[in-house]
Symmetry: C2
Subunit: 474 residues, 2 copies
Amino acid sequence: MLNLHLTDRSALPAYMQLYTQMRDQIRSGGIPYGMRLPSVRSLMQQLGTSKTTVESAYHMLLTEGYAVSRPKSGIYAANPFGASQPAPPSAGTDRTLSGPLPKGPAEEAHRIDFRPSAVDAQLFPMRSWRKMLHDTLDRSGEKINKYGDPQGEYAFRTVLADYLRNSRCVVCVPEQIVVGTGIHYSVGILAKLFAGIGRIAFEEPGFAPVREHFNQYGFRIEPVPVTEKGISVEALEQSCAEAVYITPSHQFPTGSVMPYPERERLLRWAQTKNAYIIEDDYDGEFRYSVKPIPSLQGLDRDGRVIYIGTFSKVFTPALRMNYMVLPLTLVEKMNNVNYLFDGPSRIDQWAMQSFIEQGHWYRHIRRMRKTYGKKHHRFIGLIRDYLGEHVRITGHSAGLHIQLTVDTNRTSGILVERAAAEGVKVYDLQEMWMKPVPSERPQIYLGFGGVSEQQMEEGIVLLKKAWEGLWEEA
Amino acid sequence: MLNLHLTDRSALPAYMQLYTQMRDQIRSGGIPYGMRLPSVRSLMQQLGTSKTTVESAYHMLLTEGYAVSRPKSGIYAANPFGASQPAPPSAGTDRTLSGPLPKGPAEEAHRIDFRPSAVDAQLFPMRSWRKMLHDTLDRSGEKINKYGDPQGEYAFRTVLADYLRNSRCVVCVPEQIVVGTGIHYSVGILAKLFAGIGRIAFEEPGFAPVREHFNQYGFRIEPVPVTEKGISVEALEQSCAEAVYITPSHQFPTGSVMPYPERERLLRWAQTKNAYIIEDDYDGEFRYSVKPIPSLQGLDRDGRVIYIGTFSKVFTPALRMNYMVLPLTLVEKMNNVNYLFDGPSRIDQWAMQSFIEQGHWYRHIRRMRKTYGKKHHRFIGLIRDYLGEHVRITGHSAGLHIQLTVDTNRTSGILVERAAAEGVKVYDLQEMWMKPVPSERPQIYLGFGGVSEQQMEEGIVLLKKAWEGLWEEA
């Protein structure tokens, strides 16, 4: 007999008491998975309660997957997240899912993952960041109990504006900056400020998540081809777009960099069409062996550029902090639209302000740039050594990823598959296309930020093994 | 002669070099506000540059407010944020604002602010939170360089699910929880999940920011009157709403609590109409001298309730962290809609997980409840002592604010004004109405979370002084 009790003194109704007690016992193992649960009638008798009570509790357990019903046999305890678990029986209720619940983030199955978004964990400035948090909490005093400025802490934005001017030639005052939690946060705000705009051009291939996000907000997407000089301004000029999203410092995913003349032409387009340019400078801080090109925003004299930057690459994606610099017209518009904001923790903003003010930030960037420069050099060297003339490396003048064009007549899908079979995760450029077109040679992109030099070598050796035999005959 | 230099070796074009140098000198005081700047011609000569270069730089300085043009006199350096600063001259460009830029959050002008959203700064568990952050960073290891689960850290959601079950009778599994940065974040996600829903009912009066946010997303708002038992379910049944946003544990702003029978009736409405109920339990942890009523979500057997809670009241609004519990149907829908998320810092989520797991959270809530219970008791006592029979107190069984109905024939606006003249900020209930109706007696709401007991007494004494003479003749 199960250990179950109903009481009048609970705030919960009887069916809820029964449901929670049984569920908790299933969760804790008190009722083991697979055990047959008492029949409705016997539980009614044991607890002296109504049929409705027992049936309601069972109904909840069934629809949440803590129990499964086997026809002509009874109801059995089950692990709702068990891999071998059948989907909960459809009881025709709203609570029933068509499949098992997702199980949280899947465990990484690859030994080596050339994930473009990963950064180097060893480089995180653990000691100084801990000190910043510590000191910031010490000094927070009465500020700690208030909401603060939804656009971001003003003093933090002041420090950010200085950094952006010094490092990225971004011209702005703190009033133009919106501190956020990531690119989707920024896009959410832009979607409101862009009321009246119908069509947005995107690089093709381009960063699919942002494209999809704008699409969800109801904008029409116009794909515009990417050349070795970034987005084709000529093609953009032919389009009907009223805004464009680009990654001119290091195009995602191809890695191309937009040269100065193209930038000027793009700005002229925006000025003529009264269009907006969203400049996503996601990894503009990292640049190797080429003269830095200032941000588009800094070249813009007509308030057409929205600049977006992030702490995810230079600092850590775990912090979830980014910023957007709006032209003054959009600042004005923003001030008339309330309730846009739920930005990052004030405490983190205070800590980051100190981190920058005290010089840690600049030192950290220099260190990152140096380490990534070294890793980048090594990465290119390894690819040349092991994959040789079978691949062409492009997009490697900046950032944390490169593009490979592979000399084979197989598809990029095959290349990804073969690599995966050797335990190496590489990324298919096709997936970043809105309307994929078959390219003459398959293209793959790989990030080197999150792998150690040793993993890097191991990964490239495995790639050689995976792809050998696929090479096009010379 | 100003210290300005142009060089070919800069990454910036000449006009940008000139602009940034002049602006930085104006900012640093090298060029004092009010100083007349050189004429275009003389700068051209000094720098050996073109007219376009100088004019472009001046144009940027003018439109950003670092310079002002005085007709027939010249161009003068200016403080773009100076109070006595005239608006930048309209040069017919997109960069010109119609007024001066906002200056960041305004300084609080009131001596005592009964702000309903403020919490007690003294109660923030500084030591233990610092320790959690410290330990969490120590243990973060390789996790620190990855994005993590956009829905929120899975282990944190597991701990949250347990807390919600134990404390608020919320029935859920971690897969149903979405960790966010605040109510606007949650509303942004719901707005997408509610595709197909046209009308949402709101409490009238109700929490205006959420109402306005849904309105901005294109939903039709149906105001439904609030009684002493929360939203009028009877009126809701007459409406065409397909969803309703409510604060049943402590209605905002009136403070009424929805009794059990009304909750059951509301759930029946949702089941019959296939409608959703958004339960915002913003301060449900605080409850005085009344038996706790479990969350609506815990009573829901049909997956109609979305539960939203926050760390802003019990912990601190500075953290910007909240959570939403979705019914399983919406979880399924959510899993099919990508790119919704940019939640709070992973580091903060790990720290909060430890804070809860190690028991700090429960201790903290008990301490908060005790302190707020005491403050609440004192607050009611002071109001009765000083304002006596001239006011009626309602909505005081829970939460961090109460409602006053004042015995006067003046408007609530007058009451707020008179209070402000004495340095006390109180809040006008009218502002939370969608379509304000004149009430027989004006209504004011006051929060006591953010004021000390001493400020509380001082504030009530000043309120008596402010409102004396306005009382209705007996």
